[in-house]
Amino acid sequence: MIRRAGYRLDKTVINDIKFSLSGGELLLVVGPSGSGKTTLLLAMTGVLNNLLNGFVEGYVDLSGINPLTPEDFPKVPKVVGVVLQDPEKQLSMPTPIDEVAFTLENLGFKGFEELLLSTLGRVGLLNKATTPTEYLSGGEKKRLCIAASIIHNPKLVIFDEPTANLDPWGVSEVIKYINDLKVEGRAVIVIEHKARYFTKLADKFLLINNGRQVVYLEGRDSLNNSLDIIESLESYGVDTCKPKLKSVLKRSSCREVVLEVEGLWFRYLPNKDYVLRGINLRLCSGDVGVIVGRNGVGKTTLLKVIAGFYKPEKGFIKFLSNDFTKVRKSIKGREVFYVPQEPDYMFIHSKVLDELRVGTIPLEEVLSSELWVKDLLNESPYRLSHGQRRWLAYTIAKLYNPKVILFDEPTAGLDLLLLKQYLSWVREVVSQGKVVLIATHDVRLLYELATRVFIMEDGCLREVGVEEAIEYLEGPLRWSND
């Protein structure tokens, strides 16, 4: 039970959280972004007060160990395994086999060759044991994190946003692994804002908002029976069930073709396979195009080729009937703007104010239309919160006044509330006549936003109806929804 906890003595982030968990049980912790879920993780493992100079008041018992005391804190790794949100923020060793060995070496195990191989085998990475980690795919890296977190046989395993950055196939895999851990008798905590994947597995349920415990349910049946709770969860940015398709946006007739791509073939190196094979695409003014596909299928490449960063081998790209295929990016001007997944890539200056002085729109106009920026003008863009940085990135894109805006996975990690803000931003921009093209594996974008939907597979693109795309993305998760 944690009475109060925070990073700085004058600022309490968490208040009054209380729960207990036994082996073989799964606790699902949900809440909107910024509600303190991750802080809870740091507080209960003792990291907050021992490593980060924060404070925790209360009482935590991890299998007989009190992680809040400096004497017991070193014992925490023996009983706990942690899988963090982003594998790139967790993996530290050159190869998978080194990574799984790391924990064992730290804890003083000896003679663990076999254990290394069997654990790697369990997550399907045995044949890549000595491949350098940077060559693994996102899903493989995630599995590696899982392997590294369970190799020392911990009693409790904590997952922080396990489905972040994973496509539906990856999510399906992770859910299976988590279920296996539960079945083995370990205690499992899953922190998520996409609760819908885990409601069937959860034995206990905790909703946090603004650092306070709002709902705490024990027992599997009570969770499924509290429908009113499920509905109110949506207001907290937590999705507990599959979104419902309320209406399919009617595709209005094409007033003018803004972006046309035909017969696009592209590969990075002449001796490798083609990444893009004969891509055709057409977007009219007011369209929101959404390209769905697995991670690594080539969606980002397609966006980058359209943006002009790479020249295609064959085919052409036209903006408003002007062929821009052979033109270099720097000369293309502001026909198209690519917004990367990571907002930090976008910033050049050290003050927000300087970032806004771009494009053709005068500064006063910008300041009057973007009111949220008022108090932040002298801040460094990097010190803004994640959400504010995204918003700044979108604003900068708008300032260049492009006809086409390309988004690469814009909704990764966004909870329902932030997602809705993004949707309304896109709708506003599109109503001004611009065209938006989004590459994503997030099924939520297909509801109430997409006017044209494409599925990308094996380097080829085909235009489909919204229902088919939804089915494509929901398919792998079928077994967990039933």
């Binding site: 706990v80 963090l84 967790q90 943006a307 990016k329 990571e342």
Partner: protein, 232 residues
Amino acid sequence: MIKPKPTTLFIYGLVITILAFISRRFEQLLILALVNTPVGVVLGFRRYSVIIALFFIGLIGLFVNALMFSNVGNPVLEFYGLVIREGVFTAFVNVMLRLLSILGATLIFITQVNARDLIKSLECELGLPKTIAFATAVGLRMLNILERDLREIQLVRVERGFRKYPITPSDIGSFLRPLLSLGLERALWVGIAAELRGFSQRSSRRVGIKITYVDICVYTLLITQVITVLMI
């Protein structure tokens, strides 16, 4: 053939480089260059031909420098009114030999050793403290990720009409900021993860130096050079 241990080659390369730095005389440098450069070039010719080529191009610049600043002594050549004196050649040859020896030793090292084995070897055999061993391993991983970040940053820079490569100090600042921001966030969580995996309790994994006959050959070669060079 068994390869020498990474630690052996590391020590070899380091000592040769230090020797090259402290040797001031032509005879000393000649020995170092004659021993190390051929071996290095032969080993590294295929993979590092570009670097070897660039090195020799750099020698041209070196000669130009020698011409500008060491043109003293008796004249040796006359070239369209430009008098080249012996000072130029002695200077140039000495420095060239020094650089060649270092190049040779470095090539020997980088063709035979890879990063991962070296870190392990340094930790287990030389007893490199876990702080440095871990920092280097993480550093290498971060380097790969940061290079990827760098490419993305450059794409957006071009898109926004800025230079792709930094020229002024302020440009460097604009590259540093996003790299730091992204890198530090990663470092924070990797650090937390490492701590939660028991890093603070990691004890020295020193096993002690195991030497094979190949290593002995390398060390013999090294010691011979040291003695010869210091005695001349």
